[in-house]
């Protein structure tokens, strides 16, 4: 598990919105199917990620596929960070 993935998991654990699903949260936990992420939680996660990594996620990255698990979220963050570096 890499740092970005751990960052996402730590954040979700700190929110503790759903006691049932938080206990064994790992990189492959289904976040949307389980109801752990709803629209409000998604927006706060998004703002948290953007602030922590100093980036702005393009609208086309904000799709359900990217938020399925902590791992897909981490991949998206890394992808957006990579693209930004390339642009420099």
């Amino acid at each position: 598990m890499n740092d970005v993935e751990q960052f996402v998991i730590d954040y979700l654990r700190s929110r503790r919105v759903s006691p049932a699903t938080c206990g064994d949260l790992n990189g492959e936990s289904r976040l949307i199917e389980s109801g752990l992420l709803d629209s409000l939680e998604l927006m706060s996660l998004l703002n948290h990620v953007e602030q922590a990594y100093g980036l702005t996620l393009p609208d086309d990255e904000f799709v359900p596929e990217n938020f399925e698990t902590p791992r897909t979220i981490a991949r998206m963050i890394e992808r957006v960070r990579g693209n930004r570096k390339q642009l420099r």
């Binding site: 700190s14 929110r15 503790r16 919105v17 759903s18 006691p19 938080c22 949307i32 109801g35 992420l37 709803d38 629209s39 409000l40 939680e41 998604l42 927006m43 706060s44 609208d59 086309d60 904000f62 799709v63 359900p64």
Partner: protein, 519 residues
């Protein structure tokens, strides 16, 4: 009739507007039988099909002995079946009690115990979480269910062509809102209440059979009465987006384009998501003609962005608490609005009267004087379910008329339009949902490790301060405890543990001080 800036709004609604709302779907089926009534994923229902399905729900209720005026709790994701169920309950003379299916079971249970329903319509799994009296009729919107009558069996019942006669003043809905005592409170809406709003909105915004209305408000939210009954009254089509789209604004706008949505009524927080992350393009949303919003103050930045992105769409701000439904409205004038101050809440709807009361309970006579907003008219609710005391405090007689004290403060501007000033009590709006801070505080106090708790709202975020009464209580634990008791939007984002709550010289808790600490 008063003049000047006193009581506003006098014109009565046309008589046909005040018909009982249980006639709406049958009337639509008679006038537009083959017109699409409902789109839910790849399912489409015509008005005649929807009417027939609601007739089957009605006949199931009646054959199980449900009587006029009895409550029916509806607690499942929005779907074609749920819409048919709502119309069916009304046909049977029943009272719809839509409940947030995503709420913790303890809260759903509390509402059920308060409403004492004769029947419940829910998803199969919901029945395993609830304790119900054996006499309660259980209908599952799933096709297979061990705990309840499966939907295919409900849909096999003979459709009832007749409906139970109701009066304008009979109950149609109980809508539960956050209550300051920690118990959800049921607002009683009559057939006239729902019908008066739905027909006013349909007439005012010229809804017709060509309109396709996006249904984004949850069914337990009063905004949904527009979606269901304004469409039925005007033969428009109601389109239900996949639930996931509401969390992903680009998906929502793509769906709106695909479904050729013409009208949407929603809360400003959803508009903000669309404005900021929705990739809104006027060309894709070419059919969209009207965006209505209500529930909270729309940030000017959000509205200005959308006005630019959608130059041909009309926007209107609707105002009114659940107790009065929409009572004033403002069509946004692109030329006149300064784009930096919140838009006015406008003028009274047809048939509604407004007055402002100052602190001495006298009617505010001049412009730019702030007073509590009182509402009278056909949309004003009957009162609170099983709470005569609170009903008497909120619904008052004045000059021989019945008025609802909204608890909201406002002033008239130079043009006689109302400017909204917010509240002076402990009710706040979080993403359009009403939240009594006391409701959240009570949930915290139910934890055995909490001695005192105060909750404040900062920019739509709830921040709690709790004084623990034993060692080892963590804020994570308290958050988890709240999540088990409250709907998600009511769970504080931050819970600060504090040794001593700051007090004012009067001995009262210094809420403003805490608010500053939270900012």
């Amino acid at each position: 009739m008063s003049s000047g800036f006193k009581t506003k709004g006098v014109t009565a609604l046309p008589k046909q507007c005040c018909r009982s709302v249980n006639l709406f779907s049958s009337e639509a089926a008679r006038r537009w039988p083959d017109q699409e009534a409902l789109i839910d994923g790849d399912r489409a229902l015509t008005w005649s099909e929807l009417d027939q399905q609601s007739g089957r729900v009605c006949s199931t209720l009646l054959s199980h002995g449900a009587r006029k005026g009895e409550r029916v709790v509806l607690c499942a994701r929005k779907s074609a079946a749920m819409i048919a169920a709502l119309h069916g309950v009304l046909k049977a003379g029943g009272v719809c009690v839509p409940v947030d299916w995503a709420s913790p079971p303890t809260r759903v249970q509390a509402i059920i115990e308060d409403a004492a329903p004769a029947a419940i319509v829910a998803s199969g799994e919901m029945f395993t979480k609830l304790r119900l009296p054996s006499t309660t009729l259980r209908m599952s919107v799933s096709d297979s269910s061990e705990e309840a009558l499966p939907w295919r069996q409900v849909m096999a019942a003979d459709p009832v062509q007749e409906h139970i006669e109701v009066n304008d003043s009979d109950l149609a809905y109980l809508l539960y809102t956050s209550g300051s005592t920690g118990q959800p409170r049921g607002v009683m809406l009559t057939h006239q209440n729902v019908s008066a709003f739905a027909t006013w909105a349909a007439l005012e915004f010229k809804l017709g059979p060509c309109d396709r209305v996006a249904s984004v408000a949850p069914l337990h939210f009063d905004l949904s009465t527009f979606d269901l009954y304004s469409t039925a009254w005007s033969g428009a089509t109601l389109c239900i987006p996949p639930a996931l789209h509401l969390a992903f604004p680009t998906r929502l706008t793509a769906w709106m384009a695909e479904e050729e949505i013409t009208v949407m009524y929603t809360v400003p927080s959803l508009l903000a998501m669309m404005a900021e992350r929705g990739s809104v393009r006027a060309k894709a949303l070419a059919k969209l003609r009207l965006l209505l919003f209500a529930g909270e103050v729309c940030p000017p930045r959000v509205l200005a962005t959308l006005l630019d992105l959608l130059p041909t769409v009309e926007f209107a701000n609707l105002y009114g608490p659940t107790e009065t439904n929409v009572c004033t409205f403002e069509r946004i004038d692109r030329q006149l609005w300064d784009r930096s101050s919140p838009v006015s809440i406008g003028v009274p709807c047809q048939g509604t009267r407004i007055l402002l009361l100052d602190d001495a309970e006298a009617e505010v006579a001049g412009k730019h004087q702030v007073g509590e907003l009182l509402v009278s008219g056909p949309t004003v609710a009957l009162g609170y379910w099983h709470d005569a005391g609170r009903s008497q405090a909120r619904f008052v007689l004045r000059n021989g008329e019945r008025w609802c004290r909204t608890g909201d403060y406002a002033e008239f501007d130079d043009a006689g339009r109302l400017l909204f000033h917010g509240r002076r009590d402990h009710m706040v709006k979080i993403y359009g949902h009403r939240v009594e801070l006391g409701d959240v505080e009570n949930a915290l106090l139910r934890h055995p490790g909490v001695a005192e708790a105060v909750v404040v709202a900062v920019n739509e975020v709830l921040v709690a301060f709790a004084r623990p009464c034993r060692i080892g209580v963590s804020s994570e634990e308290l958050r988890e405890h709240c999540a088990g008791q409250l709907p998600r939007y009511m769970v504080p984002s931050t819970i600060n543990l504090i040794d001593k709550l700051p007090l004012l010289s009067t001995g009262k808790i210094d809420r403003l001080g805490l608010q500053r600490m939270a900012t």
